[in-house]
Protein backbone atom coordinates (compact mmCIF):
# COMPACT_ATOMS: atom_id res chain seq x y z
CA UNK A 1 0.00 0.00 0.00
CA UNK A 2 1.40 3.36 -1.04
CA UNK A 3 0.12 5.12 2.08
CA UNK A 4 2.54 3.19 4.20
CA UNK A 5 5.41 4.98 2.56
CA UNK A 6 4.00 8.50 2.95
CA UNK A 7 4.94 9.38 6.51
CA UNK A 8 7.06 8.22 9.29
CA UNK A 9 8.73 5.23 7.75
CA UNK A 10 12.45 5.20 8.41
CA UNK A 11 13.08 3.72 5.00
CA UNK A 12 11.74 5.62 1.98
CA UNK A 13 8.57 7.70 1.95
CA UNK A 14 7.63 10.89 0.22
CA UNK A 15 9.25 13.10 2.86
CA UNK A 16 12.50 11.23 3.05
CA UNK A 17 15.15 13.88 3.65
CA UNK A 18 18.77 12.91 3.39
CA UNK A 19 22.05 14.01 1.80
CA UNK A 20 20.20 14.44 -1.51
CA UNK A 21 19.14 17.89 -0.31
CA UNK A 22 22.53 19.56 0.21
CA UNK A 23 24.02 17.74 -2.76
CA UNK A 24 21.22 18.96 -4.99
CA UNK A 25 21.72 22.50 -3.67
CA UNK A 26 25.43 22.33 -4.50
CA UNK A 27 24.58 20.92 -7.90
CA UNK A 28 22.18 23.78 -8.64
CA UNK A 29 24.72 26.38 -7.50
CA UNK A 30 27.33 24.78 -9.76
CA UNK A 31 24.82 24.74 -12.59
CA UNK A 32 24.21 28.44 -12.00
CA UNK A 33 27.90 29.21 -12.47
CA UNK A 34 28.21 26.92 -15.48
CA UNK A 35 25.14 28.37 -17.16
CA UNK A 36 26.34 31.89 -16.37
CA UNK A 37 29.60 31.17 -18.16
CA UNK A 38 28.15 29.15 -21.04
CA UNK A 39 24.77 30.73 -21.57
CA UNK A 40 23.90 33.99 -19.83
CA UNK A 41 27.15 35.86 -20.45
CA UNK A 42 27.78 34.97 -24.11
CA UNK A 43 24.14 35.23 -25.19
CA UNK A 44 23.74 38.47 -23.24
CA UNK A 45 26.81 39.89 -24.95
CA UNK A 46 25.49 38.99 -28.40
CA UNK A 47 22.00 40.30 -27.66
CA UNK A 48 23.29 43.55 -26.18
CA UNK A 49 25.74 44.04 -29.04
CA UNK A 50 22.87 43.62 -31.45
CA UNK A 51 20.71 46.05 -29.46
CA UNK A 52 23.55 48.59 -29.61
CA UNK A 53 24.00 47.97 -33.31
CA UNK A 54 20.29 48.40 -33.97
CA UNK A 55 20.15 51.56 -31.88
CA UNK A 56 23.15 53.18 -33.55
CA UNK A 57 21.92 52.13 -36.99
CA UNK A 58 18.55 53.60 -36.23
CA UNK A 59 19.95 56.89 -35.00
CA UNK A 60 22.25 57.06 -38.02
CA UNK A 61 19.33 56.38 -40.30
CA UNK A 62 17.37 59.12 -38.57
CA UNK A 63 20.26 61.52 -39.06
CA UNK A 64 20.47 60.57 -42.72
CA UNK A 65 16.74 61.06 -43.17
CA UNK A 66 17.04 64.52 -41.66
CA UNK A 67 19.90 65.31 -44.03
CA UNK A 68 17.91 64.05 -46.98
CA UNK A 69 14.94 66.13 -45.95
CA UNK A 70 17.17 69.22 -45.70
CA UNK A 71 18.64 68.54 -49.14
CA UNK A 72 15.19 67.94 -50.55
CA UNK A 73 13.96 71.26 -49.22
CA UNK A 74 17.02 72.99 -50.67
CA UNK A 75 16.51 71.38 -54.03
CA UNK A 76 12.85 72.31 -53.97
CA UNK A 77 13.81 75.92 -53.34
CA UNK A 78 16.31 75.78 -56.19
CA UNK A 79 13.72 74.27 -58.45
CA UNK A 80 11.24 76.99 -57.57
CA UNK A 81 13.81 79.70 -58.27
CA UNK A 82 14.75 78.08 -61.57
CA UNK A 83 11.11 77.91 -62.55
CA UNK A 84 10.60 81.56 -61.72
CA UNK A 85 13.73 82.50 -63.70
CA UNK A 86 12.57 80.44 -66.65
CA UNK A 87 9.18 82.10 -66.57
CA UNK A 88 10.83 85.49 -66.51
CA UNK A 89 13.05 84.58 -69.47
CA UNK A 90 10.05 83.30 -71.40
CA UNK A 91 8.12 86.47 -70.66
CA UNK A 92 11.06 88.61 -71.75
CA UNK A 93 11.48 86.62 -74.92
CA UNK A 94 7.80 86.93 -75.67
CA UNK A 95 7.94 90.69 -75.19
CA UNK A 96 11.07 90.87 -77.32
CA UNK A 97 9.62 88.87 -80.14
CA UNK A 98 6.43 90.88 -79.93
CA UNK A 99 8.44 94.08 -80.26
CA UNK A 100 10.46 92.69 -83.14
CA UNK A 101 7.28 91.62 -84.89
CA UNK A 102 5.74 94.99 -84.43
CA UNK A 103 8.85 96.75 -85.69
CA UNK A 104 9.09 94.50 -88.70
CA UNK A 105 5.42 94.99 -89.43
CA UNK A 106 5.74 98.75 -89.19
CA UNK A 107 8.79 98.72 -91.45
CA UNK A 108 7.07 96.56 -94.00
CA UNK A 109 3.97 98.72 -93.90
CA UNK A 110 6.06 101.82 -94.43
CA UNK A 111 7.89 100.21 -97.35
CA UNK A 112 4.68 99.11 -98.91
CA UNK A 113 3.12 102.52 -98.50
CA UNK A 114 6.16 104.20 -99.98
CA UNK A 115 6.30 101.94 -103.02
CA UNK A 116 2.55 102.30 -103.55
CA UNK A 117 2.84 106.03 -103.36
CA UNK A 118 5.75 105.97 -105.76
CA UNK A 119 3.80 103.78 -108.19
CA UNK A 120 0.79 106.02 -108.00
CA UNK A 121 2.88 109.02 -108.67
CA UNK A 122 4.50 107.31 -111.64
CA UNK A 123 1.11 106.26 -112.93
CA UNK A 124 -0.14 109.80 -112.50
CA UNK A 125 2.81 111.32 -114.34
CA UNK A 126 2.59 108.78 -117.14
CA UNK A 127 -1.11 109.41 -117.48
CA UNK A 128 -0.47 113.11 -117.61
CA UNK A 129 2.22 112.54 -120.20
CA UNK A 130 -0.08 110.39 -122.24
CA UNK A 131 -2.92 112.86 -121.92
CA UNK A 132 -0.63 115.69 -122.98
CA UNK A 133 0.60 113.62 -125.92
CA UNK A 134 -2.95 112.77 -126.92
CA UNK A 135 -3.94 116.40 -126.59
CA UNK A 136 -1.06 117.58 -128.77
CA UNK A 137 -1.74 114.89 -131.32
CA UNK A 138 -5.38 115.81 -131.38
CA UNK A 139 -4.42 119.43 -131.80
CA UNK A 140 -2.08 118.50 -134.66
CA UNK A 141 -4.76 116.39 -136.29
CA UNK A 142 -7.23 119.21 -135.84
CA UNK A 143 -4.86 121.68 -137.41
CA UNK A 144 -4.20 119.28 -140.25
CA UNK A 145 -7.85 118.81 -140.93
CA UNK A 146 -8.36 122.51 -140.84
CA UNK A 147 -5.42 123.14 -143.15
CA UNK A 148 -6.62 120.53 -145.62
CA UNK A 149 -10.09 121.86 -145.61
CA UNK A 150 -8.76 125.33 -146.23
CA UNK A 151 -6.47 124.16 -148.99
CA UNK A 152 -9.30 122.58 -150.99
CA UNK A 153 -11.15 125.72 -151.19
Amino acid sequence: MPTLFLFGASEGGLFDFDATLPLMAVQVVLLTFILNALFFKPVGRVVEEREDYVNTSRSEAKKKIAEVELLEAELKDQLKEARLAAQKVILEAEVDSDNLYKEALALANADANASREKARREIDSQRNDALNQLKSEADNLGNLIVERLLAKK
Binding site: D16, M24, F40, G44
Partner: protein, 241 residues
Amino acid sequence: MGFLPFVLPFAELEVGQQLYWQIGNFRIHGQVFMTSWLLIGALLALVVIGTKKMERDPRGVQNLLEFLWDYIRDLARTQIGEKVYRDWMPFIGTLFLFIFVSNWGGALVPWKLIKLPSGELGAPTADINTTVALALLVSLSYFYAGLSNKGLRYFEYYVHPTPIMLPFKIVEDFTKPLSLSFRLFGNILADELVVAVLVFLVPLVLPVPVMFLGLFTSAIQALIFATLAAYYIGEAVEEHH
Protein backbone atom coordinates in the same frame (compact mmCIF):
# COMPACT_ATOMS: atom_id res chain seq x y z
CA MET B 1 -2.57 -4.67 -6.70
CA GLY B 2 -3.50 -8.27 -7.13
CA PHE B 3 -7.22 -7.61 -7.29
CA LEU B 4 -7.12 -7.10 -11.04
CA PRO B 5 -6.95 -10.15 -13.29
CA PHE B 6 -4.27 -8.53 -15.43
CA VAL B 7 -1.60 -6.02 -14.54
CA LEU B 8 0.33 -4.23 -17.26
CA PRO B 9 4.06 -4.30 -16.58
CA PHE B 10 4.47 -0.50 -16.70
CA ALA B 11 1.24 0.41 -14.96
CA GLU B 12 2.36 -0.02 -11.41
CA LEU B 13 2.18 2.58 -8.72
CA GLU B 14 5.25 3.12 -6.64
CA VAL B 15 5.21 6.04 -4.27
CA GLY B 16 7.99 6.98 -1.95
CA GLN B 17 10.35 4.21 -2.91
CA GLN B 18 13.91 5.30 -3.44
CA LEU B 19 17.04 3.91 -4.98
CA TYR B 20 19.61 4.55 -2.28
CA TRP B 21 23.24 5.24 -2.97
CA GLN B 22 25.53 5.06 -0.01
CA ILE B 23 28.32 7.67 0.09
CA GLY B 24 30.30 7.38 3.29
CA ASN B 25 27.82 7.89 6.08
CA PHE B 26 25.31 9.60 3.83
CA ARG B 27 22.59 8.20 1.71
CA ILE B 28 21.28 9.89 -1.38
CA HIS B 29 18.43 9.20 -3.77
CA GLY B 30 20.14 7.76 -6.81
CA GLN B 31 17.20 8.05 -9.20
CA VAL B 32 16.94 11.81 -8.57
CA PHE B 33 20.57 12.35 -9.48
CA MET B 34 20.48 10.05 -12.47
CA THR B 35 17.59 11.90 -14.07
CA SER B 36 18.90 15.32 -13.05
CA TRP B 37 22.32 14.58 -14.57
CA LEU B 38 20.76 13.38 -17.79
CA LEU B 39 18.51 16.44 -18.01
CA ILE B 40 21.26 18.88 -17.02
CA GLY B 41 23.44 17.20 -19.64
CA ALA B 42 20.75 17.72 -22.27
CA LEU B 43 20.33 21.35 -21.21
CA LEU B 44 24.08 21.99 -21.32
CA ALA B 45 24.35 20.25 -24.68
CA LEU B 46 21.64 22.52 -26.06
CA VAL B 47 23.40 25.56 -24.63
CA VAL B 48 26.79 24.50 -26.01
CA ILE B 49 25.36 23.79 -29.46
CA GLY B 50 23.49 27.08 -29.51
CA THR B 51 26.40 29.24 -28.38
CA LYS B 52 29.10 27.52 -30.43
CA LYS B 53 28.93 29.90 -33.35
CA MET B 54 26.90 32.94 -32.48
CA GLU B 55 26.18 35.55 -35.11
CA ARG B 56 24.49 38.89 -35.25
CA ASP B 57 21.79 37.36 -37.41
CA PRO B 58 20.80 34.43 -35.20
CA ARG B 59 20.26 31.03 -36.73
CA GLY B 60 18.87 27.75 -35.47
CA VAL B 61 19.38 27.00 -31.79
CA GLN B 62 20.77 30.48 -31.18
CA ASN B 63 17.26 31.82 -31.77
CA LEU B 64 15.86 29.57 -29.07
CA LEU B 65 18.61 30.53 -26.62
CA GLU B 66 18.15 34.21 -27.30
CA PHE B 67 14.41 33.84 -26.83
CA LEU B 68 15.01 32.13 -23.48
CA TRP B 69 17.57 34.76 -22.49
CA ASP B 70 15.17 37.56 -23.35
CA TYR B 71 12.34 35.85 -21.48
CA ILE B 72 14.48 35.40 -18.37
CA ARG B 73 15.78 38.96 -18.58
CA ASP B 74 12.25 40.34 -18.77
CA LEU B 75 11.22 38.17 -15.82
CA ALA B 76 14.20 39.26 -13.72
CA ARG B 77 13.93 42.90 -14.72
CA THR B 78 10.23 43.25 -13.95
CA GLN B 79 10.51 41.50 -10.58
CA ILE B 80 13.91 42.65 -9.31
CA GLY B 81 14.16 46.07 -10.85
CA GLU B 82 16.47 47.80 -13.27
CA LYS B 83 19.29 48.34 -10.79
CA VAL B 84 20.43 44.89 -9.71
CA TYR B 85 18.60 42.45 -11.97
CA ARG B 86 21.84 41.72 -13.86
CA ASP B 87 23.43 40.15 -10.75
CA TRP B 88 20.52 37.81 -10.20
CA MET B 89 19.56 36.96 -13.73
CA PRO B 90 21.78 33.83 -13.93
CA PHE B 91 20.33 32.47 -10.69
CA ILE B 92 16.71 33.13 -11.66
CA GLY B 93 17.38 31.77 -15.14
CA THR B 94 19.04 28.64 -13.80
CA LEU B 95 16.12 28.02 -11.45
CA PHE B 96 13.68 28.44 -14.32
CA LEU B 97 15.62 26.30 -16.77
CA PHE B 98 16.45 23.57 -14.27
CA ILE B 99 12.87 23.28 -12.99
CA PHE B 100 11.43 23.50 -16.47
CA VAL B 101 13.78 20.86 -17.85
CA SER B 102 13.19 18.64 -14.83
CA ASN B 103 9.40 18.91 -15.03
CA TRP B 104 9.18 18.37 -18.76
CA GLY B 105 11.87 15.72 -18.74
CA GLY B 106 9.96 13.86 -16.05
CA ALA B 107 6.76 14.08 -18.07
CA LEU B 108 8.08 13.52 -21.60
CA VAL B 109 10.86 10.95 -21.27
CA PRO B 110 9.54 7.37 -20.93
CA TRP B 111 11.59 6.63 -17.82
CA LYS B 112 9.47 3.61 -16.93
CA LEU B 113 11.18 1.65 -19.66
CA ILE B 114 14.32 1.67 -17.51
CA LYS B 115 13.98 -0.75 -14.63
CA LEU B 116 15.64 0.09 -11.35
CA PRO B 117 16.17 -2.33 -8.49
CA SER B 118 14.15 0.00 -6.28
CA GLY B 119 12.13 3.13 -6.90
CA GLU B 120 11.65 4.56 -10.37
CA LEU B 121 13.05 7.34 -12.51
CA GLY B 122 10.98 10.51 -12.81
CA ALA B 123 11.10 14.26 -12.55
CA PRO B 124 13.81 15.33 -10.09
CA THR B 125 11.37 18.00 -8.90
CA ALA B 126 8.97 15.29 -7.73
CA ASP B 127 11.43 14.61 -4.90
CA ILE B 128 11.01 16.78 -1.81
CA ASN B 129 14.80 17.04 -1.37
CA THR B 130 15.19 18.82 -4.69
CA THR B 131 12.42 21.33 -4.14
CA VAL B 132 13.52 22.10 -0.59
CA ALA B 133 17.09 22.56 -1.80
CA LEU B 134 15.89 25.01 -4.44
CA ALA B 135 13.66 26.86 -1.97
CA LEU B 136 16.44 27.17 0.60
CA LEU B 137 18.76 28.52 -2.09
CA VAL B 138 16.11 31.15 -2.83
CA SER B 139 15.91 32.05 0.87
CA LEU B 140 19.68 32.37 1.13
CA SER B 141 19.75 34.47 -2.04
CA TYR B 142 17.21 36.98 -0.94
CA PHE B 143 18.89 37.40 2.44
CA TYR B 144 22.22 37.82 0.68
CA ALA B 145 20.71 40.21 -1.86
CA GLY B 146 19.17 42.37 0.85
CA LEU B 147 22.23 42.41 3.10
CA SER B 148 24.73 43.02 0.30
CA ASN B 149 22.66 45.82 -1.21
CA LYS B 150 21.49 47.64 1.90
CA GLY B 151 23.66 46.30 4.70
CA LEU B 152 21.95 46.20 8.07
CA ARG B 153 19.30 48.57 6.78
CA TYR B 154 17.84 45.44 5.21
CA PHE B 155 16.18 44.74 8.54
CA GLU B 156 14.15 47.93 8.23
CA TYR B 157 12.08 45.81 5.88
CA TYR B 158 10.78 43.85 8.86
CA VAL B 159 9.26 46.90 10.50
CA HIS B 160 8.59 48.68 7.27
CA PRO B 161 5.14 50.22 7.38
CA THR B 162 4.78 49.69 11.16
CA PRO B 163 6.57 47.57 13.78
CA ILE B 164 3.34 45.59 14.10
CA MET B 165 4.43 43.81 10.91
CA LEU B 166 7.51 42.32 12.61
CA PRO B 167 6.08 38.93 13.63
CA PHE B 168 4.34 38.48 10.28
CA LYS B 169 7.49 39.25 8.37
CA ILE B 170 9.50 36.82 10.48
CA VAL B 171 6.89 34.13 9.87
CA GLU B 172 7.09 34.97 6.18
CA ASP B 173 10.75 34.02 6.09
CA PHE B 174 9.71 30.51 7.04
CA THR B 175 6.58 30.29 4.92
CA LYS B 176 8.34 31.47 1.78
CA PRO B 177 10.62 28.43 1.34
CA LEU B 178 7.89 26.15 2.69
CA SER B 179 5.33 27.30 0.15
CA LEU B 180 7.87 27.42 -2.69
CA SER B 181 9.07 23.88 -2.11
CA PHE B 182 5.71 22.30 -1.41
CA ARG B 183 3.98 23.98 -4.30
CA LEU B 184 6.50 22.64 -6.78
CA PHE B 185 6.78 19.23 -5.13
CA GLY B 186 3.03 18.82 -4.79
CA ASN B 187 2.21 19.86 -8.32
CA ILE B 188 4.78 17.68 -10.01
CA LEU B 189 4.21 14.66 -7.80
CA ALA B 190 0.43 15.02 -8.12
CA ASP B 191 0.74 15.24 -11.87
CA GLU B 192 2.86 12.08 -11.99
CA LEU B 193 0.46 10.29 -9.67
CA VAL B 194 -2.64 11.32 -11.61
CA VAL B 195 -1.09 10.13 -14.85
CA ALA B 196 0.09 6.90 -13.21
CA VAL B 197 -3.33 6.20 -11.69
CA LEU B 198 -5.10 6.92 -14.96
CA VAL B 199 -2.69 4.72 -16.88
CA PHE B 200 -3.28 2.03 -14.27
CA LEU B 201 -7.08 2.28 -14.59
CA VAL B 202 -7.55 3.13 -18.27
CA PRO B 203 -4.33 2.47 -20.17
CA LEU B 204 -5.55 3.98 -23.47
CA VAL B 205 -6.43 7.50 -24.70
CA LEU B 206 -7.79 8.89 -21.44
CA PRO B 207 -4.39 9.72 -19.86
CA VAL B 208 -3.31 11.75 -22.90
CA PRO B 209 -5.24 14.98 -22.15
CA VAL B 210 -4.12 14.72 -18.53
CA MET B 211 -0.55 14.37 -19.74
CA PHE B 212 -0.94 17.55 -21.77
CA LEU B 213 -2.41 19.26 -18.74
CA GLY B 214 0.64 17.98 -16.86
CA LEU B 215 2.99 19.59 -19.37
CA PHE B 216 1.09 22.85 -18.98
CA THR B 217 1.26 22.63 -15.18
CA SER B 218 4.96 21.81 -15.34
CA ALA B 219 5.76 24.88 -17.41
CA ILE B 220 3.59 27.07 -15.19
CA GLN B 221 5.25 25.73 -12.03
CA ALA B 222 8.72 26.52 -13.39
CA LEU B 223 7.56 30.03 -14.24
CA ILE B 224 5.90 30.50 -10.83
CA PHE B 225 8.96 29.32 -8.95
CA ALA B 226 11.32 31.57 -10.89
CA THR B 227 8.97 34.54 -10.69
CA LEU B 228 8.47 34.19 -6.95
CA ALA B 229 12.21 33.78 -6.37
CA ALA B 230 12.82 36.95 -8.38
CA TYR B 231 10.01 38.70 -6.51
CA TYR B 232 11.49 37.80 -3.12
CA ILE B 233 14.91 39.06 -4.20
CA GLY B 234 13.32 42.20 -5.60
CA GLU B 235 11.46 42.73 -2.34
CA ALA B 236 14.72 42.40 -0.39
CA VAL B 237 16.67 44.92 -2.47
CA GLU B 238 13.82 47.39 -2.86
CA GLU B 239 14.48 50.79 -1.30
CA HIS B 240 11.80 52.01 1.12
CA HIS B 241 11.21 55.71 1.45
